[in-house]
């Protein structure tokens, strides 16, 4: 009787264990590709290792989805059955990726918000056009996104994460030998690194700072033409673009066939704009078009004088506040006000794109009264520092006098026994 009960219990336990393990056995799909490749040498092992961190693997895709074959088979010959495609040719990669990525219904299952127009965009890109002509050296999907370890652009280690993009593009575009047949410069990366945009991206870790794809596009990457540069820059600098469009330069630039922003600011090496860009001295971009004696030449000189005067006042005040701060006077309030003045200055500099002298003067006048307050506060702070030192000297004098008197009193008491 006892044995029967025990047997029943054991059967029940075995059934329960089976029930728990059954789903695991069903879902643990065999992948002989990975098993085999993990045991191979470096080049053949890499796909298996890299795929462990691949976004496709996360969504349940496996080797056969790109390469075909039957990963359920242990035997190499059986695994590489008639469906096996092997490594796709470079030229075929965009089509291969697009077989899923251009299929809206299929992609919706994994990420409904992901775009599905990468292939059509690629076809419009310089890379895509050259590939179509049979140049397999140009970038295809795997050159930018990687292969067997593809991560979405959200991951900082991804090749398409904002601060990795310049390096991703530079792998080909900075390689002089590789780019030689195309006859285009290879100093874009070097120039970009010196730009204000690179400083924002790399130093401030500002993910919204523009990288290569912000101006050239990503899948449809082409150099923006002269007419579209202004629109490209307006994506981030809309007010500057509006001012420029309303100003006299717009028509002149269009007539001369000049690109808008690029003509003065350059392209890859866009450095922080300074007042030195204005005026009639060396380094002024105005001199590119305005000859001595022209109306524009005079206006450039006037603008420079206006900004130089304002900026020198700002600098002088900053220096005074710095001295006062070093002397120990609390000047955070005027320092804060000076930041407001700087904001006015930046706005006034932006107005240069509209070239309306009255508007610029009006804007600078807004900062004038604050600057006067700061000047006053700076002077007060210096006076306060002097007052404190004088006070210390006087107080120390009286304390020393008191100390000396005490000393003599103590000595006389000692003498008196």
């Amino acid at each position: 009787m006892k044995e029967t009960a025990m047997t029943k219990r054991l059967i029940f336990l075995a059934a329960l264990t089976g029930l728990v393990l059954l789903p695991a056995a069903v879902f643990a799909q065999k992948n002989s590709c990975l098993e085999c490749h993990r045991g191979l040498d470096a080049e053949l092992k890499a796909p298996a290792v890299g795929f462990a961190g691949d976004v496709h693997q996360e969504f349940g895709l496996s080797c056969k989805d790109c390469h075909g074959g039957n990963p359920a088979q242990d035997d190499v010959d059986k695994a590489k059955d008639k469906t096996f495609k092997g490594a796709p040719k470079r030229a075929a990669i965009p089509e291969l990726c697009a077989s899923c990525h251009a299929d809206a219904a299929y992609m919706r299952r994994f990420n409904p918000s992901l775009r599905v127009d990468q292939l059509s965009q690629y076809a419009t890109s310089r890379h895509g056009q050259l590939l179509k002509k049979g140049d397999a050296k140009v970038a295809v999907c795997t050159d930018c996104h990687g292969v067997h370890g593809i991560q979405t652009a959200k991951y900082p280690k991804s090749q398409t994460f904002p601060w990795n993009i310049p390096q991703t593009c530079a792998r080909c575009h900075s390689d002089a030998a590789y780019m030689k047949p195309y006859g285009i410069p290879t100093d874009q990366m070097a120039k970009y690194k010196e730009s204000v945009h690179a400083a924002a991206l790399f130093d401030k870790k500002d993910m919204s700072a523009p990288t290569c794809n912000s101006c050239h596009g990503n899948h449809g990457a082409v150099p923006p033409d002269v007419k579209s540069i202004g629109s490209v820059c307006r994506q981030c600098h809309p007010s500057t673009g509006d001012l420029f469009a309303k100003g006299p330069h717009k028509k002149a630039f269009d007539d001369m066939g000049l690109s808008e922003c690029e003509a003065c600011h350059g392209n890859h090496k866009i450095v922080p704009p300074t007042t030195a860009m204005l005026g009639t001295a060396d380094g002024s971009v105005c001199l590119q078009c305005h000859d001595k004696g022209s109306k524009g030449y005079a206006a450039a000189g006037e603008l420079r004088t206006l900004f130089d005067g304002f900026e020198s006042r700002v600098a002088a005040n900053a220096a005074v506040l710095d001295v006062a701060e070093k002397k120990g006077v609390e000047v955070s309030d005027p320092v804060y006000k000076l930041k407001d003045v700087n904001t006015v200055l930046v706005s006034a500099k932006n107005l240069v794109h509209g070239l309306s002298l009255p508007d610029i003067k009006k804007k600078l006048a807004e900062g004038d009264s604050t600057l006067t307050d700061v000047e006053k506060a700076g002077q007060n702070a210096l006076d306060e520092a002097k007052f404190r030192r004088k006070g210390l000297i006087i107080a120390t004098f009286f304390l020393a006098l008191f100390g000396v008197a005490l000393f003599f009193k103590i000595r006389s008491m000692h003498k008196a026994g």
Partner: protein, 361 residues
Amino acid sequence: MNRFARNIYAYLDERFKFEGLIAYSKHKKVPEHEYSFWYYFGGISLFLAGIQIATGIMLLLYYTPSIDAAHESVQFIMSSVKFGWLIRSVHSWTANILIGILFVHMFSTFFLKAYRKPRELTWITGFFLLVLFMAFGFSGYLLPWNELSYFATRVGTDIAGSLPLIGPWLKTVILGGPSVSQATLSRFFWFHVALLPLAAFFLMAIHVLLVQTLGMSVPIKIKDKTHKEISFFPDFIYKDALGWTLILVLIGVVCVFLPWEVGKKADPFTATPLGIKPEWYFTFMFTTLKLVPGHVLFFEGEQLVILAIMVGAVIWLLAPYLDRKAARDKPSPFFTWLGIAILLYIIVLTVLTYAVPRIGQ
């Protein structure tokens, strides 16, 4: 003294019996010998504590204990209140000088074995006064609500939170919640201006009363030699006053040339700045925590250090009872060497904290 002043004095004397007090002070003698210099640190500590009370009361007039206004109110004191910069700088600098002087006072008392019978309670009250003034420093440090003080408090209370058994509870009690917040500022303020001053006043009263009742101790080494005695008033007080004057000049100089900074307003959402450390008088304990490995045998390194510091503090507190030789007026070299070792440890660890900022990382 003119007639009016004489009348006022006579009126007050009749009621407060000044004459008796003056007679007692004149009658009271203070031994004078080669080690007398160290006596004056007690008087200087008392003088600095007085400055702290006076400047603290003045600061209360403008300080606002709220996380939205604390930093701004300190900035206002430093920039807009007439002599606010001086009052606040004197308060902050004096707090640090006072703790330094208290350490000197404590170690000189220890090395001169002035704690020996019957002055055990003077030593014990003195020890607790040092702990109280360090608590004053810890609580006062947070009040300006600046970045350094905010994160130093977070680090400090995290250490308290790692204590075995009572750690999490203690941390919650100190912070008034799970993290440094308005509740923390409120209770640190309450601690700094209400509870601690009351406790310190009470302990100082006992300490001074004991000093007055028992008189100054004479070191064992020269106990049997004949030495001079001076009257407590005015001779000793004059000398004390000379020390106070010198320290006042020092405070004036540092306050004018290095006014205590306001710092950046605390932002709880920013990452802890690199190299954050507590006030200098806590750094020897802080660096010890950094140097000890995470696990020592079966113990958590941090808990072991805290436990060792607590045991060390109790031994230090009970020195008058443990040092049996000194109690019998006999030299006790073991305790002298123990004191030297502890003093060297504190100095070396404090210097290392500043000289090697990445120590233990």
